[in-house]
Symmetry: C2
């Protein structure tokens, strides 16, 4: 999609729930339950997935780093670049996890994603190295 | 808030509705109805405000460019850097507006915000000028 084209990818925050998630082979494995958004920067940081029985993961919620997803316009959903092993090894999650930077660090490490707060530091670097 | 601190600003996409919006003097003028998110980049592009009678704007929805807002942690809500005149001059809005780049351009111009798709072009510049 060219940047000069109308943006068909805008979605309301209250309608993002239920978007399909596929594995890297293109098989549907679950859905987006909701997103976690940084209300200061306006950037999505996590997507919380449910598997609904796929892969035997039951109804639990699995938060994944935003960077583990790629939106596929043909599939009309997200491709999650994660393995079953990563999902099974994910650090335990509860509502307090969102205020636990150590948990966030372990989660990103588990899924092989660079922590988003390191991006922000780089972007704000007052002495960039050219 | 330091970037090494736990992030207290993460909010669920299904809970962002109802966040207070203040004017630049700190007076509450309305609420966030919902956000419009780019599902490819994961960036919030618009916040849709309702005034609930404030300033005589009734119950209509007013989409504003995301950049017109600043989150104020002390107020616990967004400060909207817009004037009554800008709100009254805003281009007419309907559900098709989200697929109308011309409407998006007029909206950003009305509120004096640089269009987000120009940011993206700059960020993706393959020949950056140092």
């Amino acid at each position: 999609m060219g940047m000069a084209e109308p943006n068909a990818n805008l979605i309301s925050s209250d309608k993002v729930e239920g978007t399909s998630v596929f594995d890297v082979r293109g098989d549907k494995i679950g859905e987006i339950e909701h997103l976690m958004i940084d209300r200061v920067s306006g950037m999505v940081r996590y997507a919380i997935m449910t598997f609904g029985g796929f892969l035997g993961f039951g109804e639990s919620e699995y938060p994944l780093p935003w960077k583990a997803f790629r939106y596929d316009t043909n599939l009309g959903g997200y491709v999650a670049n994660v393995t079953e092993e990563q999902l099974r090894n994910a650090p335990e999650f509860n509502e307090d996890s969102w205020r636990d930077r150590d948990w966030e660090t372990r989660l990103h490490k588990n899924y092989g994603s660079a922590p988003y707060w390191e991006d922000a530091t780089t972007m704000r670097d007052p002495f960039p190295r050219y």
